[in-house]
């Protein structure tokens, strides 16, 4: 499951005409029932959940303010002693949630590096590229808003993760297709550049999967010298993405290694991690990990394909690599089949979801527990790369992706006797 994005949730969840105290009580009930019905343990966190209700409901009834009610609900969730159960104050949403933008994009990929929004990639042929935007440029302002006013308060709030913050900032560079967005950049010589950037259709093919909103999915494969390189934005559009992965691996027989770049990839269909690993893992009866639900335990098994790649595999990740990306990267790392490069992943490897509560607060909860093959849960912990290395503005301005460079260097060293 894709982690829900805060910016997708509108203010419609606010109920009109109800008093705040009742909304807080309704919110308490929704949180308590959700944990009761959806937690993977019948006794959530080993607790008598009914007794928890009896203990905390009177406290919410007595609460004198929304903040006090929130504090009680948060305290109740804290009793679980588990990650990814959190109440996000409604006020935080106003920081990251206003003005969703639209489907149109500029072609700019960005990350928050050292508290600054930095362009990390520009799509070939995109309006941004045509207007001269380059990797390494800092984005100062977008859609009439100083990005610093979004980034600074969010960074100081532990409830907002890198994934959410980056999406919130990226949303400032979106709008209606055919429209424009005003943005200000700091270029390589630290000169401020003001641009009106055109907005175009998102990259990739629109792909639907069940009740998920249709998503634009792209897949790219190329050679970096004698190393094959794969990048795709989501584990969706299964037939096309799996076929692209297979073809790249088959074409890689004479190459010296494979890089699978999952930076920015929020996940998608969990099974695709197993399917892709089958092209890389030759040993039978291996698994990437195990998912524990209330009634069922599912092993994420790997079926070795008839032809399996023997060359070294590097997997690139960052704080925006979530869910299926973490299952894939963590599993290959645990099986000693892939070396992971980049920064710590999003630690959102479970079917966790965000919902808005009747009082406007946000509620994040996990539905299952996933343990990677190495014995470590990915939820809340994520994947720590074998080689921790981050993009830097300086390197980007010099035309270098330091994470790819590190992976290529490692692959080349594998050839050295």
């Amino acid at each position: 499951m894709l982690p829900r994005c805060l910016i997708l949730l509108g203010a419609a969840a606010y109920a009109f005409g109800q008093n705040q105290h009742q909304l807080d009580l309704d919110s308490f009930e929704k949180v308590w029932i959700t944990v009761r019905d959806k937690h993977w343990q019948t006794k959530p966190g080993g607790l008598d959940w009914q007794a928890i209700h009896a203990e905390y409901r009177p406290k919410v009834e007595k609460s004198a303010s929304p903040a006090e009610a929130r504090s009680v609900i948060q305290e109740m969730l804290g009793r679980l002693g588990q990650s990814h159960f959190a109440i996000i104050p409604a006020a935080i949403y106003s920081v990251v949630d206003d003005e969703e933008g639209g489907p149109g994009i500029t072609g700019i990929d960005l990350r928050i590096l050292d508290g600054q929004a930095i362009v990390t990639g520009v799509d070939e042929g995109s309006p941004a590229e045509k207007q001269g935007v380059r990797p390494g440029w800092q984005i100062l302002r977008a859609g009439g808003k100083e990005l610093k006013t979004i980034i600074d308060p969010a960074r100081s709030n532990p409830a907002i993760h890198e994934l959410q913050l980056t999406r919130a900032v990226a949303a400032r560079l979106t709008g209606p297709i055919g429209g424009t967005v005003d943005a200000a950049f700091l270029d390589a010589s630290d000169k401020t550049i003001d641009l009106k950037v055109n907005l175009i259709q998102p990259r990739g093919t629109l792909s639907a999967f069940g009740n998920l909103p249709a998503q634009h999915v792209w897949f790219e494969a190329k050679k970096l010298g004698s190393t094959a390189y794969i990048r795709f934005n989501m584990f969706l559009d299964l037939p096309r993405v799996m076929a692209g992965f297979q073809q790249t691996v088959e074409n890689c027989k004479p190459c010296d290694g494979l890089i699978v770049d999952l930076r920015g990839n929020p996940g998608g269909i969990g099974g695709m991690a197993m399917g892709m690993a089958g092209f890389l893992v030759d040993k039978p009866n291996q698994r990437l990990g195990t998912m524990y639900m209330r009634d069922t335990t599912l092993n994420f098994v790997v079926n070795p394909r008839p032809e399996v790649l023997a060359a070294p595999v590097a997997v690139l990740v960052d704080g925006l690599s979530a869910s299926t990306s973490e299952i894939f990267a963590g599993g290959l790392k645990d099986l000693n089949r892939g070396r992971v490069f980049g920064t710590h992943t999003a630690a959102a490897a479970l079917p966790s979801a965000f919902e808005r509560l009747p009082n406007g607060d946000g509620f994040q909860y996990a539905l299952a527990n996933y343990i990677s093959q190495g014995g470590q849960p990915l939820e809340g912990l994520g994947v720590t790369p074998d080689v921790e290395i981050s993009l830097t503005r300086t390197a980007l301005l010099d035309g270098h992706d330091s994470v790819i460079d590190a992976a290529l260097g490692w692959i080349r060293r594998q050839k050295t006797p």
């Binding site: 299964l238 399917g275 639900m293 092993n299 079926n303 008839p306």
Partner: protein, 254 residues
């Protein structure tokens, strides 16, 4: 079960209303399964069926995913199913003699082994309803339970290899309306519950036109649209796919 029958008989004697209880002793599991064969068409109807092609639609309603399924079967041990599921691509499964295999766009080809293989072969057997004696050496009627408010006999069918299946047969109609089991899959043992309904005549045999299946946390429905009886099966339909053959060559002991 025997104690329960004995108690009924004793009560009947003591009360002097034997007639009221005489109709109630639990029938044997064998008679329930034979009755199911009878009410769905009879042995003759099954014996006439040498091959079939069944066309179904599949729906994962809560996920908003639909698909189609075509199942080919021929006596004695040939079976092939192809599912096309929106967004997930093709999933194929087959049995050819002792080889049970699967191939999907998601996970690729594989050869089933152990209990999973035994279960696949059993479930792929042509006319498995009529051939229950060959498939389940031990059957037992464990009493009466309500399914959707209807009294049903609960029959536990134990195969030579694998976990028992529990079938629920309506006392009134003799039709099977529910089946529970634990499936052995490569991802683990998963509880499965099937609810069968809307029996219809497909070429002389009554079959449930709707089956709702709960497999772990997932629920989906299969609607049987049509069955071609004794059709010409396309040549090579049951052949092992090239990728499955490659796997067998790679690890012939599978």
């Amino acid at each position: 079960m025997k104690r329960r029958v004995l108690n009924f008989a004793l009560a009947a004697l003591l009360s002097g209303i034997a007639g009221a209880f005489a109709a109630d002793p639990l029938p044997s599991a064998e008679s329930i399964l034979d009755r199911y064969v009878q009410v769905t068409g009879g042995k003759q109807a099954y014996a006439k069926r040498k091959a079939e092609i069944a066309h179904s639609t599949v729906e994962f309603a809560s996920l908003g995913i639909k698909g189609s399924m075509t199942r080919y079967a021929a006596e004695p041990d040939k079976y092939y199913t192809s599912m096309d599921i929106e967004g997930l691509g093709k999933v194929e499964m087959g049995i050819n003699g002792p080889v049970a295999w699967e191939n999907s766009a998601l996970l690729g080809p594989r050869v089933k082994t152990g209990i999973e293989r035994a279960e696949a072969i059993r479930e792929g057997t042509m006319n498995s309803t009529a051939n229950w004696r060959k498939l389940y050496p031990k059957v037992e009627n464990q009493g009466i339970e309500l399914v959707d408010g209807e009294e049903c006999y609960k029959v536990v069918m134990t195969p030579a290899e694998g976990q028992p299946m529990v079938g629920y047969y309506q006392k009134k109609s003799g039709l099977q309306v529910k089946l529970t089991s634990v499936a052995s899959t490569q991802m683990g043992e998963i509880p499965v519950e099937l609810i069968a309904s809307e029996y219809k005549d497909f070429g002389g045999i009554l079959e449930p036109s709707k089956v709702t299946q709960k497999t772990g946390p997932q629920e989906f429905s299969i609607t049987l649209d049509s069955v071609e009886v004794n059709p010409a099966i396309p040549p090579g339909r049951f052949d092992l796919p090239p990728d499955v053959r490659k796997l067998l060559e790679k690890a012939p002991t599978q």
